[in-house]
């Protein structure tokens, strides 16, 4: 064990944080940066509640050692807020589509859906389901979650045309 300095970018802000080299990225984001959208559910990479984007790819931050984040760009739900403090289209869609029940899985699902939403490629409903298959919703509200992602994907693709 050792204390080390981690330099990375979190939600567009450069960070230099003293961490323990045994910390998971989820530990650091929650305990050092207080980004509590990152939920610790299973802590073994099965539930997806701790999903964050690392260099635009979705990872379970509970099974990602913080030391591996050196020089990388990390994004959490907190980073989706715009300059006026407003929530993003995907967060609003989760509200509109009643895709939130207990809410514990929500932030993970939203981060898992970001690579779909930010891609220039079309996604079918089945492809969307496959991309969010690493996230569990124990309230089983999957249909509404897929509806929310599908809706925002459609909107964003239409806006690009």
């Amino acid at each position: 064990m050792a204390k080390v300095v981690l330099s990375c970018t979190v939600n567009s802000e450069p960070q230099q944080i003293i961490i323990d080299d045994r910390d998971s990225l989820a530990d650091v984001l929650r305990d050092k940066l207080h980004l509590t959208s990152v939920k610790k559910g299973c802590e073994v990479g099965e539930c997806g509640a701790c999903t964050v984007l690392i260099n635009d790819e979705a990872f379970d931050s509970c099974i990602y050692l913080a030391i591996w984040a050196e020089g990388k760009e990390i994004r959490t739900v907190e980073g989706l807020m715009d300059a006026d403090g407003e929530i993003s289209d995907i967060q609003q869609a989760f509200i509109d589509e009643a895709a939130v029940q207990c809410g514990f899985c929500t932030c993970g699902f939203i981060m898992s859906s970001m690579p779909i939403l930010e891609s220039d490629e079309e996604y079918t409903r089945d492809e969307i389901r496959k991309q969010i298959a690493g996230n569990f919703c124990r309230c089983t509200g999957y249909e509404n979650i897929a509806n929310a992602v599908e809706k925002v994907k459609e909107d964003r693709m239409n806006n690009k045309k």
């Binding site: 064990m1 050792a2 323990d20 080299d21 045994r22 910390d23 998971s24 530990d27 802590e43 073994v44 990479g45 099965e46 997806g48 999903t51 790819e57 979705a58 990872f59 379970d60 099974i63 990602y64 050692l65 030391i67 591996w68 050196e70 898992s112 690579p115 496959k130 991309q131 969010i132 298959a133 690493g134 996230n135």
Partner: protein
């Protein structure tokens, strides 16, 4: 926080080897999706680790001058599935690893780690067996190349001696050229599940596309380690595509496998899967080669 005694972040293969030699008890951690879970569950609590996670020279897929395809063992499942060389020449491998876990696991999990933890259910393993993958293992003094079948010494045990690192997975041209393949993962769920049985078949047809010129049949979870069925393969080489041929393959494969009962499934069910999935995989592989089933 993980219960790790110490962790060293290696910067190059030689650096990793040096630290592995210095600390013979240290384990190699690549993506961590097996090791960190074992630490979390206490099985590997207090271990020493050498992280090869940041060694970029071990990532990516490249075409060699002689037509062999070299896969860096740290290539993640998702990058392997997306890779243009894999898509074009060995699509069956990209399709197989696209069935691992879920998207987050496919982003962190590496193909080298998948085979190096020595489990029989690894989704990439049966396909790499069917492809006769060769493995480059680099140690303190030299590097050696061995077939994947010699890598597995037993469940959870692979032929990595102290200070050795898996540095490349090589698919030779003769094992992918003119071959088509298909992998079936039989599991209870469509995502986030471990294979009850995995079956990969690659085949090569004659010019008329009606006869099997060559076939490779490999299984995961049909025995303690991933395996091929050489007798079943031999029995149908040169046979016309027919029901008889499919039945022969299935029946002889049954005599070569040794599945066991686990909490996931019974031995009897696995035997049924062994017989059925090899036919289904071969049918798909034949179709991909332009062959016609039933006439």
């Amino acid at each position: 926080m993980y219960d790790i005694k110490k962790i060293y972040k290696a910067t190059s293969v030689q650096d990793a080897i040096k630290h592995l030699v210095d600390d013979p008890n240290a384990l190699i951690i690549a993506g961590g999706s097996d090791i960190l879970i074992k630490i979390h569950k206490g099985k590997l609590a207090g271990c020493s680790l050498v992280s090869i996670h940041d060694i970029d020279e071990l990532r990516g897929v490249s075409m060699q001058d002689n037509g062999d395809i070299k896969i860096g063992p740290l290539t993640s499942f998702s990058n392997l599935s997306k890779d243009h060389i894999i898509k074009r020449y060995i699509p069956v491998l990209g399709e197989a690893v696209d069935q691992v876990g879920g998207p987050q696991i496919r982003n962190i999990g590496t193909i080298g780690g998948n085979i190096s933890n020595g489990v029989t259910s690894a989704d990439s393993a049966s396909t790499l067996f069917a492809l006769n993958a060769m493995l480059e293992i680099t140690g303190p003094n030299n590097s050696r190349i061995i077939p994947i079948s010699e890598y597995y010494l037993g469940p959870g045990k692979v032929d990595l001696k102290n200070g050795e690192v898996l540095t490349a997975i090589i698919i030779t041209k003769e094992n992918y050229e003119d071959f088509t393949g298909h992998y079936i993962k039989y599991a209870m769920r469509e995502a986030m599940d471990i294979a009850t049985l995995g079956c990969c078949v690659t085949c090569k047809l004659n010019d008329q596309k009606d006869t099997i010129k060559d076939v490779h049949l490999a299984y995961g979870v049909a025995g303690p380690i991933p395996m091929r069925c050489p007798r079943a393969e031999k029995s149908i080489i040169g046979m016309k595509i027919s029901d008889e041929m499919f039945n022969t393959l299935g029946k002889i494969a049954l005599t070569e496998v040794k599945p066991r009962t686990s909490w996931r499934a019974s031995k009897e069910f696995r035997l049924q899967l062994v017989e059925e999935l090899c036919k289904r995989s071969l049918k798909e592989a034949i179709k991909k080669s332009g062959g016609v089933i039933n006439g």
